[in-house]
């Protein structure tokens, strides 16, 4: 957290020079491949991120981003022993993640239509763990912290044009474990592609 604060401070005091744009909005489609198999293990293509970036100068930017993704897995029908009984069912595990993160960005190129960058996102994650079995379901929620280092590229279709594309790869780590269900912290590799609207 301290490192993040220092990063922002550096961004703020950095001198204003020629930069990519004044600001930009982005919306990304997100693919997540979990690195753990506790509750969900399948790669998810159901994710979206909305964000705003303020390009502070030609090297640095800062922003905020909200995200949502859902991951799921299927546990085939089997019998579970319970206290004084048993239950037989198949189970659909669903994990709904809602994130809100601030970020700092560093741009490797000062000009051109093609701008690679590195970013560090940090914020909070709200996770809903839901199990569906036949017509029934049960849910548990957990709120935690989340960080995501990310490498990506911005592509502005025309010089001074407002429309652009974005692609990025990141690794997300969240502190959302549920000890009572023996579910560990979630972490996943994610790939994002999306569009950017630049504001000159």
């Amino acid at each position: 957290m301290r490192a993040l604060a220092i990063t922002f401070l550096v961004l703020i005091v950095a001198s204003a020079q020629a930069q990519i744009a004044e600001s930009g909005f982005h919306i990304n489609w997100t693919i997540s491949k979990p690195s753990y198999t506790d509750f969900v293990s399948k790669t998810s293509t159901r994710g979206v991120r909305f964000g705003f970036t303020k390009f502070i100068n030609e090297k640095f930017g800062a922003g905020i981003e909200g995200g949502f993704n859902v991951l799921d897995d299927y546990v085939p029908r089997q019998t579970y022993q319970l206290e004084n009984g048993a239950i037989t069912t198949d189970i659909f595990n669903y994990m709904y993640n809602y994130t809100l993160m601030a970020n700092g960005q560093y741009y490797f190129k000062k000009s051109g239509l093609f701008v690679p960058y590195a970013a560090l996102h940090a914020g909070i994650i709200f996770t809903e763990y839901t199990q569906f079995y036949n017509a029934y379901s049960s849910s548990n929620n957990k709120t935690g912290a989340v960080v995501r280092p990310e490498l990506g590229v911005l592509y502005r279709i025309q010089t001074y044009g407002s429309f652009g594309l974005k692609a990025a790869i990141g690794y997300e780590y969240a502190t959302n474990k549920m000890e009572e269900y023996d579910i560990k912290n979630f972490n996943a590799l994610n790939v994002q592609v999306g569009i950017v609207l630049f504001n000159n």
Binding site: L82, T88, F92
Partner: protein, 212 residues
């Protein structure tokens, strides 16, 4: 600017159309089968020899249903070829026979009774105390329930219960020693087949129900 907004909205709608829950067809593939037993009564299963069961009716618990009408027969399931109630009762009897128990008439002093009940849209079924709603239908074994539970509200479930008669300790003091919840009966695509499969499963996962 409008076209840009349109891009954003289209993209968001595309993502919003993603499947966020399992499909109902997948969920309804098989019924959930939960069984519970009364731990102190486990040793009694080997001491039973006979049981009694209603032959052509099952109980029916639903909000607003008159207790005098709280039963179902095959005439209530005319859309199901082969019926629904009698096949259920037959299969329960088959399973109990396979475990070494013999059916007996009520006047022959059976060791345990089997109750089969459909709980339908029973959103006030929050505790064990649903048996008073059986009314006259189940009045003949007014048992108490040792297992506290909150279960299956707002759905339709088939409940099979075994009530200990042999070890009753007092007047109308019959103990529920086992029960199975099977559901959901609303959402299944093949009510009869899936219910029968689930009944077999209930006994499969209860190996302690055995005379031997």
């Amino acid at each position: 600017m409008k076209s840009k907004i349109l891009y954003f909205v289209s993209f968001a709608l595309l993502l919003g159309a993603c499947e966020l829950q399992p499909q109902s067809g997948e969920l309804a593939r098989d019924m959930v089968v939960q069984t519970q037993y009364d731990e102190p009564s486990l040793e009694h299963f080997s001491t039973y020899a006979t049981f009694t069961i209603w032959e052509d009716t099952v109980g029916w618990v639903k909000r607003g249903v008159d207790p005098d009408d709280a039963y179902l027969t095959d005439s209530d399931f005319t859309g199901i070829p082969g019926g629904y109630v009698k096949p259920i009762i037959s299969l329960v009897k088959e399973n109990l026979s396979a475990r070494g128990y013999n059916k007996a008439a009520e006047e022959e002093d059976p060791d345990f009774a089997v109750n089969i009940v459909v709980l339908e849209d029973f959103s006030f079924f929050q505790t064990v105390n649903y048996y008073p709603y059986y009314g006259s239908y189940y009045g003949y074994y007014n048992y108490y329930l040792p297992v506290v539970n909150t279960y299956y509200s707002q759905f339709a479930s088939l409940v099979i219960e075994i009530v200990d008669i042999k070890h009753a300790t007092g007047n109308n003091d019959y103990k529920l020693v086992w029960r199975a919840f099977i559901g959901d009966l609303y959402t299944t695509f093949d009510l009869r087949t899936k219910t029968l499969e689930a009944i077999d499963q209930a006994f499969d996962q209860s190996p302690y129900i055995s005379k031997d």
